[in-house]
């Protein structure tokens, strides 16, 4: 399976090229971009990122842990004060709040690694430092016989260079 690499100067051009390619059935697309771009995100994959699930799970775990820990500890080492209940919910809310943020934040970071597939041990063979400068790369995975069509399409959409990355 050859991979065709198109280099673009402007994210809008890349996004249009990606949209056209997806329209033609080439769905195995990858990009290297120096900046985040909504246009590209929409063109490649319009589904919202799943990081949100991680945040939710982390936050809920945090709030439950916060209340459970404080209430359990209050009963495990009871401090008798004027016949009041051992567990005092208002101050424990502060602990629950802080742990919601703590667990939610850490799980969000974990979500970045899981959903964004980081860390990567090896960089892609087509990756180049120009893609952390100002150039944008569009990689199209395709069959041998489609290479010339993709080459034409990329050039039509103002790709500066098109080349084939051997697998």
């Amino acid at each position: 399976m050859p991979t065709v690499l198109g280099v673009f100067r402007q994210p809008l051009h890349l996004a249009r090229a990606a949209e056209v390619l997806r329209g033609r059935g080439y769905t195995d697309l990858e990009i290297f971009s120096p900046v985040p771009s909504h246009e590209i995100d929409h063109a490649i994959d319009e589904k919202p990122s799943r990081v949100r699930i991680f945040t939710l799970i982390g936050g809920l775990t945090g709030v439950v842990t916060g209340y459970a820990m404080t209430i359990w500890m209050a009963y495990d080492w009871p401090i008798m004060l004027g016949g009041k209940p051992f567990a005092s919910i208002p101050p424990y809310t502060i602990i629950a709040f802080e742990l919601t943020i703590l667990f939610g934040g850490l799980m969000t970071a974990l979500g970045l690694f899981a959903v964004g597939r980081l860390p990567k041990i090896r960089l892609h063979p087509a990756y180049h430092r120009r893609f952390s400068a100002e150039d944008f790369a569009l990689l199209v995975e395709c069959r041998e016989r489609d290479v010339s069509e993709i080459d034409g399409l990329l050039r039509d959409h103002r790709a500066l260079e098109v080349s084939v990355v051997p697998s």
């Binding site: 402007q10 290297f32 970071a109």
Partner: protein, 467 residues
């Protein structure tokens, strides 16, 4: 004669192609990290020297005990707690800039968010040490954590000090995560341009970031969610710190205004510290194209706004003391302004509430030497604010039999001075190791402006939503 085919496919072909000019944004910002002048080393060595000096004083304090601090019954919260609150306050600007201004889509934050986030982490690290220094018996400071022990005993979660422990440790963790996650794309930029040991370091830290759509998409989402979590966090942390005082019944402490009063003061002092650090950095490293007068003017406006809130809080405290007809409260505030601590009180009022009113003038908002001087005065004023609140509150409580007058001793002042050196040391090291401006974010704006020369960034988004 034809050249031999490249051994490693197209990637090596690109590498051998005539060297492409690097992005000027990368070049300018990464140049801050390159080399180090004699002046830099001198500054760094001075800072390291003072940190060691303070460390020595601290060891002396551990050896002799807290008796060498200037504590005078009933004032047992002194310069250490003052400095702890001061540094926690400094930390607040970073999260405000990176989280709250992010949610409000204030684009101008891009030039200063990285340095402010770094200052947040360093300030929290500095502050956290004071908890250990203040307890004196450092080897028992872990008692504050809920850990299983053979006495079957747990910490008391009804105590504000416990809330503080959780707030500060959460804040330290989340701000460090925020700083690091935001920096990953920039670390990849540094990786692609570094050699030797630095390349190894940045390769490890950038986690193989290549800017794929999957990476950017989850990165955007992560930053958004972290901002959403950090926004209530930043408001809660200094509120919780204020409850260390407000939950007690000490006159001058027991006030419901303390939450917003402390948060506004924290943001005020944090912005002042960002100005104190970034005005010289911009000048020395020639970053005028990135951190412009516009950024400084916006920060000045924040200073002005928070100064007015702080000034209002000062007035409200005095008003309520008078209006409450509570004699201990009234005499406490009289003592504040006209007692032995009058210098601190008037420093606090003049530096924090009066002097910043000059920022109403646009000419002064863009005058950097003036801003630098003002920010230093604000830092001093905000240290005095905490000093006034903590010391005057404790030294005159209800019973005249237990009144006392506290003056910081030389070991305390030495350790406090060392904390400034510690903060400067971390920031100086940061300058040479990590990009001080968020390169990818600045570049995002630059590329967008190139694509939409009519200057409508928002317009592009609207267009996108419609489609």
């Amino acid at each position: 004669m034809t050249p031999p085919p490249p051994p490693n496919g197209v990637a090596s072909m690109i590498r051998q192609s005539p060297s492409l000019p690097d992005s000027p944004i990368n070049r300018d910002i990464l140049s801050v990290m390159k080399g180090a002048s004699a002046g830099y080393w001198l500054l760094l060595l001075t800072a390291v020297g003072f940190v060691h000096l303070a460390g020595g004083i601290w060891i002396y304090q551990v050896y002799k005990g807290l008796g060498i601090a200037g504590y005078a019954h009933p004032v047992f919260w002194g310069a250490y707690i003052v400095t702890f609150v001061f540094w926690v306050g400094i930390a607040h600007a970073g999260t405000l800039i990176s989280a709250i201004l992010y949610l409000f889509r204030a684009k101008w934050r891009n030039a200063i968010n990285r340095s402010a986030e770094a200052m947040t982490v360093f300030a929290v690290l500095t502050a956290a040490q004071f908890l250990g220094i203040h307890v004196g018996r450092i080897w028992k400071s872990y008692f504050i954590l809920p850990y299983p022990n053979q006495r079957g005993l747990w910490v008391n979660f009804k105590s504000p000090l416990l809330w503080d422990t959780f707030a500060i440790s959460t804040y330290a963790t989340i701000s460090a995560v925020f700083l690091y996650i935001g920096m990953i794309p920039d670390l990849a930029i540094a990786r692609d341009r570094a050699t030797g040991l630095r390349r190894v370091l940045y390769s490890a830290l950038s986690l193989g970031w290549q800017g794929t759509s999957r990476e950017w998409k989850s990165h955007n989402r992560t930053v958004l969610h972290l901002s959403g979590l950090a926004t209530p966090l930043v408001l809660s942390v200094h509120s919780v710190v204020s409850w260390d005082f407000a939950m007690s019944i000490v006159p001058g402490w027991h006030a419901t205004i303390f939450g917003p009063y402390f948060v506004a003061g924290a943001i005020f002092s944090g912005f002042a510290m960002v100005l104190t650090m970034m005005i010289p950095v911009r000048r020395i490293f020639g970053l005028e194209a990135y951190i412009t007068d516009y950024h400084f003017e916006n920060m000045s406006r924040f200073l002005l706004l928070t100064s007015i809130i702080v000034g209002y809080a000062y007035c409200a405290e005095y008003f309520i003391a008078w209006y409450s007809m509570a004699e201990p409260e009234q005499s406490s505030f009289w003592y504040r302004a006209f007692g032995p601590y009058w210098i601190s009180t008037w420093c606090m009022i003049i530096f924090n509430a009066v002097l910043p009113q000059l920022l109403w003038f646009k000419r002064l908002r863009t005058n950097l030497p003036f801003l630098f001087g003002l920010s230093v005065f604000i830092n001093i004023g905000m240290w005095f604010e905490r000093y006034v609140i903590i010391i005057t509150g404790l030294s005159r409580e209800y019973n005249p039999a237990v009144w006392g007058t506290y003056t910081p001793s030389w070991p305390e002042l030495g350790i406090v001075a060392g904390s400034f050196a510690f903060f400067c040391m971390l920031f100086l090291i940061f300058l040479k190791l990590f990009p001080v401006i968020a390169i990818a974010e600045v570049k995002e704006i630059a590329i967008h402006e190139k694509e939409h020369p009519d200057g409508s960034w928002e317009h592009a988004h609207v267009y996108e939503e419609v489609h």
